[in-house]
Amino acid sequence: MKSRAQECNIHASLQRAILAIWICVLLFPSVSHALTAEQGNEWPVARIEQLFHEAGRAYDKGQFDEAASQYRQILESGHGSKETLFNLGNALFRSGRVAQAVLQYRRAQYLNPRDPDISANLRFALQTTGATVPQHSALSRFFFHVSKEEWVTLATASYWIAAAAFAMFLLLPAPFKSAGIRLLVVFVALLIVSLLGIGAWVQLCRRPEVVIIKPQQQALFAPLEQNATPHFALTEGSIVRAVEFSSGWVKIASGDREGWVKHDVCEPVCISGEL
């Protein structure tokens, strides 16, 4: 009887240890997040905040170029945020660079796809130039309704909870096993959906959206400097999908049409490291 009791104690302590490790690791994203945020700061936060407020004041005074320059400094220091991108978009829009504003709004939207302010300003900027946003399928719209970071967090949490559910299934007595299985199925399904969401964003970076930043552009049938036949006109600020990159040329898709534009005519929305 004594040895049996000791065995039970060992099992209980083992379970507690495993649970403790899982709880610690579940908190990893936020902990890691906080740690890296502290470690990576080359500029002190106070300096960044000061610059942000100075840019806001310049904007209020109508010095939009100055405001845009200061917002860009913040971004270049590595402190990109949807707020900075949004405000930079506003400053660019006010200074008449609507295509650049569309680009910054779209980047901000990538970081927070459900922000109504970003969507409203992006639509307004597009409306000003007469350009439109590419139409995605319903499934893609669902995936792009959640940011990549959110999908990764959801996938990580689902992964760990699914692992915990499997551990429950292994450890708990028979009457409780079915609960473990149900939990496992739910979180594995959630994990799969999250991975598909991540995949959609990865695909968006491989074939990135680009914004036409120069006015009165035309997509050509072939990437030729001379004698190339124009295919269709591109409005400044149009958001199109890049299909292929070839020595100074980009093959773009707009609706059901594809054509070539020069590399300097457009700028990709997705920045390496941002997503």
């Binding site: 083992l14 495993i18 490790i21 690791v25 990893f28 994203p29 890691s32 997040h33 890296t36 945020a37 990576g40 080359e42 936060v45 960044i48 905040e49 942000f52 806001g56 220091s77 590595g78 402190h79 990109g80 945020s81 949807k82 707020e83 949004f86 506003n90 302010d117 409203a120 639509r123 307004f124 900027a125 597009l126 409306q127 007469g130 439109t132 970071e149 990764v152 967090t153 990580t156 992964y159 692992a163 499997f166 551990a167 292994l170 450890l171 035309q218 049938f221 072939a222 030729l224 004698n227 036949t229 295919h231 269709f232 006109a233 409005t235 609706g255 049409r257 490291g273 941002e274 997503l275």
Partner: protein, 614 residues
């Protein structure tokens, strides 16, 4: 081979069809105007072969049976009369086909027709002349001397060899097969140019007969639409892979011979398909770039022959309200690449991107129709019309640009109602067209974020440590799985569980004996020794407490191969423990066995026993 040219007809008009007007015309008022189709197939044949002449009458309910006049060198007989019905959107259609069997008995070129066919009710159909060639019958041995190139060859041709960039043209493949050469349905074209030319799927046009070098060939024609994408010279030297149907090598099969094998062979596997590659003579086409001179300003790459129509609605709006322009472009050419013409309306209008709302294109014919919709908003009430819209294309047949113009479109614009509206999206179908009302300006700046993050913090999930930590769950689950499995195993196998427990229990008893030794307590010492032996062998041999006796233990160890010396030592130790425990003699308790050596001996013995398989 002697051939006659027997091109006459007894009388041109007098040799008119002798129509037997026995039939009544339909009372059906709804019947369409009478139509007569007249054909003879094949038009090239050998003496002795049969040709079929068909006269199909539509729009007449019961036409008189026509008769073909006798012709020198031909045996003509009525074969059949067929009636067919078809119905469609335009109503029902009755077709009556009269078939004649024509068998030539001599060589030459013969002309059937022209005829007049009296349909009754003063209706007469003119049937054109059809020329038929009759050759001498095939001579045995002649084909054996001919090469494969004579029996089967192909020709590749293009509708034009001097083309313009983006011009759509026809590529035709003609396969000639001599009589007796059976070509299967599968045909593949290999080694076509991979770039510069866009080629659609080949489609079979039909088959016919032709005389080439005094031999009759079955001809199959395939056509594909191609588009020249860039300027340059392109050489087509493809290989045509055909499947040839050849008689299968017959094996003597007693079963099939006995049970009517010939009948089944006719249906199953009498022929087998063999691939044959035929190389047609190379075809070279040259493609030139579209001319720069006289290129219209709005030209967007349309090459072909197109029509263009534009419609503007509504024509009466308030300033700030949307006007929709519907643009329809249809025709032959690179319609797939045709885009909406640009509307140049100046600053008086706010112009949105054109959307394609309908697309009806037949790629095999490179023709079709595209409908675009474009939204414009007049900025003020001063606007009186929408300027003309022009669509330009390059016509490769004329070698010139064409500009089609629609408009200007008069519109009446009233002053704005005060509500600022902005059209931001016009969806694909007119039914879904919707207008979203937005604010009249962008939203103000956002406040500073509550927490500033740098780029590396935002992509925390890209770090190596993140991926390393994700390995923990599978590792832990692996360990847990092993643990649970071991536990289940021990629960199910009690003997194994006790065996694994034996040495641990013995060690605990030995520790008690050591303690008793240090306390100079011989009774407890021997009690602990006895307990160590009893517990160890009880677990090790999976015995109940009452079953652990010296005889049982020693017998088991002997079977396990314990050597003589250790056996004796163990026997002595067991006996000594029993003596001390049960005798209760004080002298015995103070005996020399109460020592460290006894403990060491016990330790040695248990280690020895641990190595024995019992």
């Amino acid at each position: 081979m002697k051939m006659f040219c027997h091109t006459f007809f007894r009388t041109t008009c007098g040799l008119a069809l002798q129509v037997f007007a026995l039939l009544m015309l339909s009372e059906n008022i709804g019947l369409a105007a009478p139509q007569v189709e007249y054909d003879i197939t094949p038009r090239v044949l050998h003496v002795g072969e049969a040709a079929s002449c068909s006269i199909t009458v539509r729009g007449v309910d019961n036409p008189p049976t026509p008769g073909l006049p006798p012709m020198d060198g031909w045996q003509i007989s009525m074969a059949s009369k067929e009636r067919s019905f078809s119905s469609g959107a335009g109503g029902s259609d009755i077709a009556i086909t009269f078939r004649f069997r024509l068998v030539p008995v001599k060589t030459g070129t013969f002309t059937f027709g022209p005829f007049q066919y009296a349909l009754g009710n003063n209706n007469t159909a003119e049937l054109p002349a059809i020329e038929v060639r009759v050759l001498q019958p095939n001579q045995q041995g002649v084909q054996q001397e001919t090469s494969q190139a004579d029996l089967l060859f192909a020709v590749l041709s293009s509708s034009s060899t001097n083309l313009y960039s983006q011009q759509v043209f026809d590529i035709t493949l003609t396969v000639y097969a001599a009589q007796g050469v059976n070509v299967g349905r599968d045909i593949a074209l290999l080694n076509m140019p991979s770039s510069g030319i866009s080629l659609q799927q080949f489609q079979e046009l039909g088959s016919s007969r032709e005389v080439v070098n005094n031999s009759i060939y079955e001809i199959r024609r395939f056509r594909a639409k191609a588009t020249a994408l860039t300027a340059g010279t392109f050489r087509f030297a493809p290989t045509v892979r055909l499947s040839l149907l050849v008689p299968r090598q017959q094996r003597r099969d007693p079963f099939s011979e006995r049970f009517g094998g010939t009948f089944f062979d006719d249906f199953f596997g009498r022929h087998e398909s063999q691939p044959v590659d035929v190389t047609p003579p190379p075809l070279e086409i040259s493609v030139q770039a579209l001319p720069i001179e006289n290129q219209p300003p709005g030209f967007s790459g349309a090459v072909g022959n197109f029509t263009f129509h534009a419609q503007v609605r509504p024509s009466e709006v308030a300033a700030g309200d949307p006007i929709t322009v519907n643009i329809t472009i249809s025709g032959d050419g690179n319609i797939e690449n045709v885009s909406a013409p640009e509307i140049v309306a100046g600053n008086e209008f706010r112009i949105y991107e054109a959307k394609m709302v309908s697309r009806d294109i037949d790629l095999s014919r490179a023709s079709g129709r595209k409908v675009f919709e474009q939204v414009l908003i007049p900025r003020s009430a001063d606007v009186t019309n929408l300027p003309a819209i022009t669509f330009s294309f390059f016509n490769p047949f004329d070698g010139a640009y064409r500009v089609l113009k629609q408009g200007p479109f008069p519109i009446s614009v009233s002053p704005a109602t005060g509500v600022v509206s902005h059209v931001v999206q016009s969806h694909a179908t007119p039914a879904e067209t919707q207008t979203q009302i937005l604010g009249s300006d962008i939203l103000y700046l956002k406040p500073a974020p509550s927490r500033w993050q740098n780029g590396s913090a935002r992509s925390w999930y890209r770090s190596k440590s993140f991926f390393a930590i994700q390995l923990i769950p599978p590792l832990l689950l692996g360990l847990l799985f092993a643990f649970v499995r071991r536990r289940t195993d021990l629960e199910q196998n009690l003997a194994k569980a006790r065996r694994q427990k034996a040495s641990r229990v013995a060690r605990e008893a030995i520790r008690r004996a050591e303690k008793a030794l240090s306390n100079n307590n011989p009774r407890d010492f021997f009690e602990a020794l006895a307990d160590a032996l009893r517990s160890y062998f009880g677990h090790r041999l999976n015995l109940a407490p009452g079953e652990v006796t010296a005889e049982v233990v020693l017998a088991a160890l002997l079977r396990g191969g314990l050597d003589e010396q250790h056996f004796r030592e163990l026997e002595k130790l067991l006996a000594r423990c029993d003596e001390v425990r049960f005798a209760g003699d004080t002298n015995l308790l103070n005996a020399a066995d109460f020592s460290r050596e006894t403990l060491n001996t016990l330790h040695e013995l248990l280690k020895k026993c641990e190595k024995i398989r019992v």
